[in-house]
Amino acid sequence: MPCLFSAFSFMASYARAPAQTSSVEELKKLQRQSFDIVSGGLDIDEVDPIQAMGLYKRGITIMRQAVRMNFGPNETEARLIQDKMQQNMEQIEDRCRTIEERVASR
């Protein structure tokens, strides 16, 4: 079963690969950037949802980058920020879907 073996060895090497750790400051910077952008979207959501969606999508791009950052097991603060960003990102994606559906049904 060469295929299964190679798949297994690939997984094993992936698990062994040292995860590159990021700095919490960098995470906070991305958090702030995305916060400013998404807040701007929320400010205009009810008057101009299409433009708001543009801002949401820009925010999501930055948030996705932030939640993918790797941190060591002791970086609990970073994980807390990432968890909250992940939750909000899902809500923003949900909001984008709602706007898209509304626009499509016009």
């Binding site: 906070k28 702030r32 929320l42 909250k84 909001r95």
Partner: protein, 62 residues
């Protein structure tokens, strides 16, 4: 005849302190704003909480 040239010391001091105070305030304002300050974890968490609340409110409204 002697001419009164008394320097209004009190007024000068007051002026200096006013200028210093204005300068001090301007400096402290610069210190408290601007991009030099890094956000604390509490700020980052609070900002995300704020986003979460606003998104939830928007969802319940529309």
């Amino acid at each position: 005849a002697s001419t009164s040239v008394s320097t209004p010391v009190d007024q000068v001091d007051l002026l200096i302190s006013q200028v210093a105070e204005e300068h001090g305030l301007a400096v402290s304002e610069q210190l408290h704003s601007g991009p030099i300050l890094k956000p604390t974890t509490e700020q980052s968490v609070a900002e995300q909480d704020e986003l979460g609340e606003r998104l939830a409110k928007l969802k319940s409204k529309t």
